[in-house]
């Protein structure tokens, strides 16, 4: 058994004021594995990712990445944000090269250009992010994260803001790249389809406090055919699991609304 890329033990996060975001999370992610964290909003999946990234400190438990305890952000765990978080004052090329210039890589720009080509963004290097569509921005964000060649990618609902068609092509793109570079990917989503399209394993989280409800292993061959019976079966299983938590989420919201 190789050392897990990400090892989470007894993880808890209490934001105070009675909001317990996460409780007793145990999770191992193997090197090269693509794991989706799935759950309704408020299940703490983004918090979990932010703790793994080192942006947020846990209240209990520990996170280790490649054997080392995580306490702050590091370029071995590259993050892709839902809001892209591209630096608007830098050109596309400078955005992608950022992590490399930080490391004083003399070939930063050349490598960044190669990545742009790989993500079908050639010719856009001199543009500013504001001139790009949402899908293209997320490609740039992905290129920027790939540029530092981190062994692990943390992706926080990266395709959540995209339209359905763009999302599908970005999923295919991600799988193509993953196939090529075999990075460990932890992918947060609230899309059941998306998790079945992408994941080796889907970690279903409970609504507040977030705990691991169930881990569903998907052994479907890739590329996955949404029309196949295996795909439909997985969707059905996950839908049932998520629906229970969604119901708790909605009940909680209407309780708040009713005061």
């Amino acid at each position: 058994m190789p050392e897990p890329a990400l090892q989470i033990r007894g993880l808890g996060k209490d934001f105070g004021g009675g909001v317990v975001a996460l409780r007793d999370i145990d999770l191992d992610v193997s090197p090269g594995e693509l794991v989706c964290l799935l759950g309704p909003s408020g299940c703490g999946k983004s918090t979990l990712l932010n703790i793994a990234a080192g942006f947020v400190q846990p209240s209990a438990g520990s996170v280790r990445a490649f054997g080392k305890p995580v306490s702050r952000p590091g370029p071995e765990r590259a993050m892709v944000f839902q809001e892209y978080a591209l630096f608007p004052w830098m050109t596309v090329l400078d955005n992608v090269a950022f992590g490399l210039t930080v490391k004083r890589d003399p070939e930063a720009r050349g490598k960044a250009r190669a990545l742009l080509a790989k993500l079908s963004l050639q010719g856009f290097g001199d543009r500013f992010p504001k001139d790009l569509s949402g899908g293209m921005r997320q490609r740039v964000a992905l290129a920027r994260a790939l540029a530092v060649d981190a062994p692990m990618l943390l992706m926080d609902e990266p395709f959540g803001a995209l339209d359905a068609l763009t999302r599908r092509s970005m999923q295919a793109e991600l799988l193509r790249i993953w196939d090529e570079v075999r990075k460990t990917i932890v992918f947060v989503t609230h899309g059941i389809d998306e998790s079945v399209t992408l994941a080796d394993r889907v970690v279903v989280l409970t609504y507040r406090p977030g705990t691991v409800k169930q881990i569903v292993e998907l052994r479907l061959p890739r590329p996955r055919d949404p029309a196949s019976s295996g795909f439909a079966e997985a969707i059905k299983q996950l839908t049932a699991l998520v629906a229970e938590e969604q119901l708790r989420h909605e009940r909680d919201e209407s309780n708040v609304a009713l005061g």
């Binding site: 990234a53 702050r72 590091g74 993050m79 944000f81 630096f87 608007p88 004052w89 950022f98 930080v102």
Partner: protein, 251 residues
């Protein structure tokens, strides 16, 4: 058509002004007609007096603004980036900021006597607070997600400041400079009326001694034109430096 629309009010006002002066026989010492003001302005210009005054005024603004903004920018960036520094300096900033620079005139003269030093002091003071406040706000308002993204990619604190906080704050800093240079221009006119014996501010006050209302008005119009030129220059500079920012709000 656009040119006509934007100049129509000015043209009508000038004609009305001329007519009032001529038909009502207004004393030229009270309100000279625009034709007389224009003649005086041309004379003021060709004698070389206006260029010398304008240069003196603009040079004072440049020096005073450079001092004021030069002190405010680093302090503002420091206060914006470090909340401990902010806590230390903010109370004194809040107490001094509402005092109009004009209220510093007595002290400025006591401290620096007459001549350029008190003028520089007042102009610098006028530019200082707009630049300071906008620099602080600019750095503080840089979206935390950019900071996270930079840290995630391995940026050191120095890199974070230079490549994320500073450019992220730039729109606000430049807006502060634009306001600051406007206030500096107000301060230079006041300072020239009090502390020195050249420049546009001095000249219009001098003209009053002789009831040269045409010269007062010619000087005022020159002040307006130079102020407009400075502001337009700043706006163009902003636009050039912030190519990435234009239209970002509705992106």
């Amino acid at each position: 058509m656009r040119l006509l629309r934007s100049t129509a009010v000015i043209a009508v006002a000038l004609v009305g002004w001329e007519l009032v002066c001529r038909l009502a026989h207004v004393s030229p010492a009270i309100l000279p007609p625009p034709t007389q003001v224009a003649r005086k302005w041309a004379e003021y210009l060709t004698s070389g007096e206006l260029p010398r005054d304008a240069f003196a005024t603009v040079a004072r603004v440049a020096v005073g603004f450079a001092i004021g903004a030069g002190l405010a920018l680093p302090l503002g960036l420091w206060m914006g980036a470090m909340s401990k520094v902010y806590e230390v300096f903010n109370p004194v900033v809040q107490i001094l900021r509402p005092i109009p620079p004009i209220a510093f005139i007595p002290l400025a003269i006591l401290w620096f006597g007459l001549g350029n030093p008190p003028a520089f002091f007042l102009i610098a003071l006028g530019a200082f607070f707009p630049v300071l406040m906008n620099s602080i706000a600019g750095v503080r308002n840089v979206d935390a997600i950019y900071v996270r993204a930079a840290q995630n990619l391995g940026a050191s604190p120095a890199t974070l400041f230079r490549r994320v906080l500073l450019p992220g704050a730039m729109p606000s800093i430049l807006a502060g400079m634009r306001v600051g240079i406007g206030v500096a221009f107000i301060c230079v006119i006041v300072a020239e009326m009090i502390a020195v014996n050249n420049g546009l501010g001095y000249r219009i006050l001098e003209a009053r001694e002789y009831f040269w209302s045409d010269k007062i008005l010619a000087g005022m119009i020159s002040i307006g034109v130079i102020g407009l030129a400075i502001d337009t220059g700043m706006a163009l500079l902003n636009q050039r430096l912030l190519r990435w920012h234009r239209g970002l709000e509705n992106a």
